[in-house]
């Protein structure tokens, strides 16, 4: 199945009111969203964040409080968290913004209470 087909299937599943995110779907949603946003732009955002974090934060703060610089466009970084939080990336797990938990919360932000 093509990437488009897989993403379409995932989107259909999440279109139900009672849907819950399956972590493994993030493997397929990564290239989808990277392609939408522009992979080079995402990489540049993550690179800038790395530079800031190496001087101003540490792993614990990034993981636990989503520590990030002021005025950051978190769009690319939320996606970075989604990607990296799965633990599937070649990058270390959880270096960005709460990783998997944030990704899941954002995926279904309007989840029924």
């Amino acid at each position: 199945m093509t990437m488009e087909g897989i993403v379409r299937k995932i989107a259909e599943r999440y279109s139900r009111a009672d849907a819950r995110v399956n972590d493994l779907d993030l493997i397929h949603l990564r290239p989808y969203m990277e392609g939408f946003l522009d992979p080079q732009w995402v990489e540049a955002q993550l690179h800038d964040y790395d530079a800031w974090a190496s001087k101003n934060s540490d792993d614990t703060l990034r993981r636990s409080i989503l520590h990030r610089p002021l005025g950051l466009n978190t769009c690319g970084h939320d996606m970075g968290g989604a990607i990296l939080g799965t633990g599937i990336s070649t990058r270390p797990v959880f270096p960005y913004f709460g990783g998997r938990q944030k990704a899941i919360d954002h995926c279904l932000q309007y989840g029924d209470p």
């Binding site: 989107a11 520590h67 919360d105 932000q109």
Partner: protein, 311 residues
């Protein structure tokens, strides 16, 4: 985004994709774009057919829902971080995290109380951080510090103690901060955390009037755009976590009364949907952001809104 693209594929031409990409990459614009996409996906999940007009440039109408033979316009308003508050959650998190990092590097466990009667601005950030970092000795009373013509109070003192995942919320609440953060280090048995740092903003000003006015402005802006059409929905999203929307009201009467008055004032607003980001500092598993809806009794699409307060 995938949900929206799946259900509104015909609206996702190359021009629309480029427009959305530009908005998502724009720091001042992406919160609004994300809110519109989330709102569209929310109503798709509630069973509506969605026309995402926001995918086209310069379209005043943002979303039209088709549901139960009705066409329902939706106008989205995104409240930027800090809207109607002394300090945005984003800025507080960055400030408190930086203070916690400085304390950790200095091997200090500290309680930091910052007092302010006005907005804490970006340009105050480094000043406050360096004041806390350089603060030494014991002070009974908070120190008065000035920056750029404004006065803050600051108290820094050693702290010790422990908490658990279950007790952390109450522990933090015991400090009575307007906004606060606690950083702990896990102890060996994995159930308790030793307090490493507690940081909070103390504010004694009553800013309910300001937050209420800010909400009213957003409803009015949505009402202006809904004018001339059938009753629609004002979908207002707070970028700052808002655990209890009742905190947005100006008076002691419940928020539903204020929302009802606004809908009476602007009859083209048939419902108001409030939502907010989740609070990632207090991380119970799987907690999504809050959503609450207020609908006029006469509208026939109340069931579409999801969780709502009956009025």
């Amino acid at each position: 985004m995938a949900i929206l693209e799946r259900h509104a594929a015909s609206s996702f031409d190359q021009e629309a994709r480029e427009y959305v990409r530009q908005r998502l990459q724009d720091t001042s614009n992406f919160l609004g774009a994300v809110h519109e996409i989330n709102t569209a996906a929310h109503f798709i999940r509630r069973g509506a057919n969605v026309e995402p007009l926001f995918l086209k440039k310069a379209n005043e109408r943002e979303i039209v829902l088709h549901w139960a033979e009705q066409s329902i316009p939706v106008q989205c308003k995104s409240k930027q971080p800090g809207a109607g508050r002394l300090i945005s959650q984003d800025m507080f998190t960055t400030l408190a995290g930086s203070i916690a990092l400085d304390a950790k590097l200095a091997r200090r466990s500290v309680l930091v109380k910052i007092g302010s009667t006005g907005n804490i601005r970006r340009q105050d950030f480094e000043f406050l951080r360096s004041c806390v970092s350089g603060f030494r000795g014991r002070h009974v009373a908070p120190a008065l510090i000035q920056h750029d013509g404004r006065v803050f109070t600051l108290k820094v003192e050693p702290i010790s103690g422990s908490f658990t995942i279950e007790s952390v919320k109450d522990y933090l609440a015991s400090f009575d901060f307007q906004v606060g953060m606690i950083v702990g280090e896990p102890v060996r048995d994995g159930t308790n955390f030793n307090v490493a740092c507690v940081i909070g903003i103390e504010a004694r000003v009553d800013d309910r009037l300001r937050t209420s006015r800010s909400l009213r402005e957003s409803v009015r802006a949505a009402a202006d755009q809904l004018k001339g059409g059938p009753p629609g929905i004002a979908a207002i999203h707070y970028a700052d976590p808002t655990p209890d929307f009742e905190g947005l009201r100006a008076r002691d009467e419940p928020l539903i009364s204020e929302m009802a008055k606004l809908m009476d004032l602007w009859p083209q607003v048939g419902a108001i949907m409030l939502s907010s980001e989740p609070d990632f500092q207090l991380l119970p598993v799987g907690r999504a952001g809050e959503v609450r809806s207020y609908a006029r009794e006469s509208v026939e699409f109340a069931d579409l809104l999801g969780p709502r307060i009956a009025g």
